[in-house]
Every structure is written in structure tokens, then in C-alpha cells.
């Protein structure tokens, strides 16, 4: 195989990482303006505290950042699949589709 590592996938990944960082930064600053003076208490694990109900909230913005990151991973696998389809390399199309399927299934477990 010729060294198939197209730079454009990397560029898309970098953009995804930066967009998610911007979301996380905006949400984080907003969160600190609301709660910055509260006393931090993360010694005990409390799963109920972590779920966001409204995406137009500081926490919601941070979570949008997280979703952007996860979505770029889906995109990464999809783009690699497409490269293998272009090469008509069906064994690797199947491997990539399998990874993609597990990734998507993992969100519904």
C-alpha cells in the first residue's frame, strides 16, 4: 500500500478540536461567572449532579464542546471508510464500517 495518510483528515480533526475548545471555554467562563465563588466539592461521586437539562446553559455549552469532539471521531472513521471505498479495498471498508457501527452503538448502550 502506498502511504495513505491524507492531511485533510487531520485538518478536519484539528478544526473539530478547536471548535470544541471554544465551546468549552465559553461555557466554562459563563459557569465560573455563575458558580465561581461556590465551594468546590468533588470528593464524593454523585452521578445525579452531572446531567445537563438545558443546552443554553453554561454546562450545556461545555457539553456541546464534548459532543463536537465525539462527533469528529465519527467523522474521522467515516472519512477513512470513504478512502477505502475509493481504493475499492473492501476488506478495510468492512473493518472501518465495523468500527463505525460499534462507535454509534456505544451511544445507545
Amino acid at each position: 500500500m502506498k502511504q495513505e495518510s491524507p492531511a485533510f483528515i487531520g485538518s478536519i480533526m484539528l478544526i473539530g478540536a478547536l471548535v470544541s475548545a471554544v465551546f468549552a471555554l465559553l461555557g466554562g467562563v459563563a459557569y465560573l461567572m455563575e458558580h465561581g465563588n461556590d465551594i468546590a466539592n468533588y470528593e464524593k461521586f454523585n452521578p445525579l449532579l452531572s446531567h445537563v437539562k438545558n443546552y443554553f446553559s453554561p454546562n450545556g455549552f461545555i457539553e456541546l464542546g464534548i459532543f463536537t469532539l465525539v462527533f469528529t471521531q465519527l467523522l474521522r472513521v467515516a472519512l477513512v471508510t470513504w478512502l477505502f471505498i475509493k481504493e475499492k479495498n473492501w476488506a478495510f471498508v468492512i473493518f472501518s464500517l465495523f468500527v463505525l457501527a460499534i462507535l454509534i452503538a456505544s451511544f445507545y448502550t
Partner: protein
């Protein structure tokens, strides 16, 4: 401590973790989790959630530089990733049923192993030995830009590498880390790929593997936005700085110093896991 103070400290810590993690190849999670747990008294589940997200950010952010250089072997990568995603699902599932004590002890062991491997890493590239039959059949062999021009390489022990990758995936899901050390082990020691090929291919895969655990971590409430945002921003910025420095400098001494730090943190994690203080 107020949340503002904690966030600033986390940001600084995460930056250093990301920087050193990328310079040594150990990854940010290996450092950020014990520091959050031991120094800031943060529950290990929150630390794992924040680390998992920062691992994805690091892998995405540094892919651009790595893919441009032309070392990443996508075929080897996607083949091995089949094992890694399956492992990640199992690991992420299991972690909800394990006690904090067990997780801490396993974490300590993985840290010790990673520190040791980071020091002992040798590069015996396979140019002459024929490839494993699976590698030939799947066409996994590749070539990379070396100092003597484009150099073709062979691929050894494919089944062993697949097994190691499945282990790496399950550790990633179990502990919220990238398991870069085990991934590199699969490609370095088992497949005998050139150093830069295994490092960059591993980096390419780490984000995909970690993303597989996010759904399960999210459902269990491990990903707390308030802890995740400073860790995510810090580790990402640190890793991007590290990737810039790495292309110019050798980091052997840093690896030695850092492996000792990791070993001490590992001992403390295991002690905390065994004695149970603070949990």
C-alpha cells in the same frame, strides 16, 4: 477551595500534564488522573471522565501535524481498531461494577507498566524478515519517509498485536486513559513497525477508542462539565505545545525523570486503593 480557584489550578495542572504527556509519549491521562485524585481529592470517576474527554481532544488536535508527515499507517490502524473498540466497550461497562479500590490498584499497575515501557522502549524495525501471513494477505505493509528516502517495512505478529490492542481498548474504557503505551507496544514490539509509524498511528486511534467509552461514561455521570472544561482546555493546549517542541528536541532525559514521577504516583495510587483512605 472555591470552584474558580479549583478551575484555575486544574487548568495549570492539565496544561503541564498535556505538555509532559506528549513529550514523553505517556499521554495526558496517565498524569492528570492521579494528580486530580491525590492532590485535589477529586473522586476518581470525575477524574476519569475529564481525562477521557481530554484524550480525545489531544488525539484530534495532534492528528493534523502527524498526518501531514506521512507516517500514519491507516490500514494497520483500522485493522487494530476493530479489537480496540470492542475492548473499550467491555472496559467501560466493567468499570461501573468495580470498586474505587480495584480501579485505583489497576490504575497504579498500568502506570508502573507504562513508565517502565517508556524507558525500555527499543526500536527494532523489521525490514528483512518476511511479514506475518495476515499482513501479506491484508496488505498491511507500508513505507515511510526516512533519512535515506522512502523506506519500506514489514509487519510481524499480527494476531499478537490485535490481542494487545484489544487489551489497550479495554484499559482505555476501564480507566479513562488513552492507553497509548499499550497501543505503541502492539505496533512497536509485536508488529515491529518503525518508531514514528507506531507513535503516529497510535495517536490517530486513541481518539476513536476513547470516544467509544464516552456514551457509557456519560450515562453513568462520570463526565462532569465543571471539571471537564479546565482539564480539556489545559491538556489540549499542553499537547499542542508539546507537539511543536517534539519535532526539534530529543526527550530521553525528560522520559527518565518523568518515569520516576509516574512510578511514585503509581505507588501512591495503589496505596490509596489498598488502604482506602479518603474513598
Amino acid at each position: 477551595m472555591t470552584i474558580l480557584e479549583l478551575s484555575i489550578l486544574l487548568l495549570i495542572t492539565a496544561y503541564i500534564a498535556g505538555l509532559v504527556g506528549s513529550l514523553t509519549g505517556l499521554g495526558g491521562g496517565m498524569i492528570v488522573i492521579p494528580v486530580l485524585v491525590l492532590l485535589f481529592n477529586i473522586d476518581i470517576h470525575y477524574a476519569m471522565g475529564a481525562s477521557l474527554i481530554s484524550v480525545i481532544a489531544t488525539s484530534s488536535g495532534s492528528s493534523a501535524a502527524y498526518l501531514r508527515e506521512g507516517y500514519t499507517n491507516l490500514k494497520v490502524g483500522m485493522f487494530l481498531e476493530v479489537g480496540a473498540v470492542l475492548g473499550a466497550i467491555v472496559g467501560a461497562y466493567l468499570t461501573a461494577y468495580l470498586s474505587v479500590h480495584v480501579i485505583s490498584i489497576v490504575f497504579g499497575i498500568v502506570m508502573l507498566f507504562s513508565a517502565f515501557f517508556s524507558l525500555a522502549r527499543k526500536n527494532e524495525v523489521s525490514f528483512d524478515q518476511p511479514s506475518h501471513p495476515w499482513a501479506v494477505k491484508l496488505g498491511l505493509e507500508g513505507s515511510y519517509p526516512s533519512s535515506r528516502g522512502i523506506q519500506a517495512y514489514k509487519v510481524q505478529r499480527v494476531p499478537l498485536a490485535l490481542g494487545l490492542m484489544t487489551t489497550a481498548g479495554s484499559l482505555s474504557g476501564l480507566l479513562g486513559i488513552g492507553s497509548g503505551a499499550v497501543k505503541v507496544l502492539a505496533m512497536d514490539l509485536a508488529m515491529r513497525l518503525p518508531y514514528k509509524v507506531s507513535t503516529t498511528t497510535s495517536n490517530f486511534l486513541i481518539g476513536i477508542t476513547a470516544a467509544t467509552s464516552v456514551g457509557i461514561y456519560y450515562k453513568h455521570g462520570y463526565i462532569d462539565p465543571a471539571i471537564t472544561f479546565p482539564v480539556l482546555l489545559g491538556v489540549l493546549a499542553g499537547a499542542l505545545t508539546g507537539a511543536r517542541i517534539l519535532s526539534n528536541t530529543r526527550s530521553k532525559n525528560l522520559r527518565i525523570i518523568f518515569s520516576f514521577v509516574i512510578a511514585i504516583l503509581a505507588a501512591e495510587m495503589m496505596y490509596k486503593g489498598l488502604v482506602g483512605g479518603g474513598f
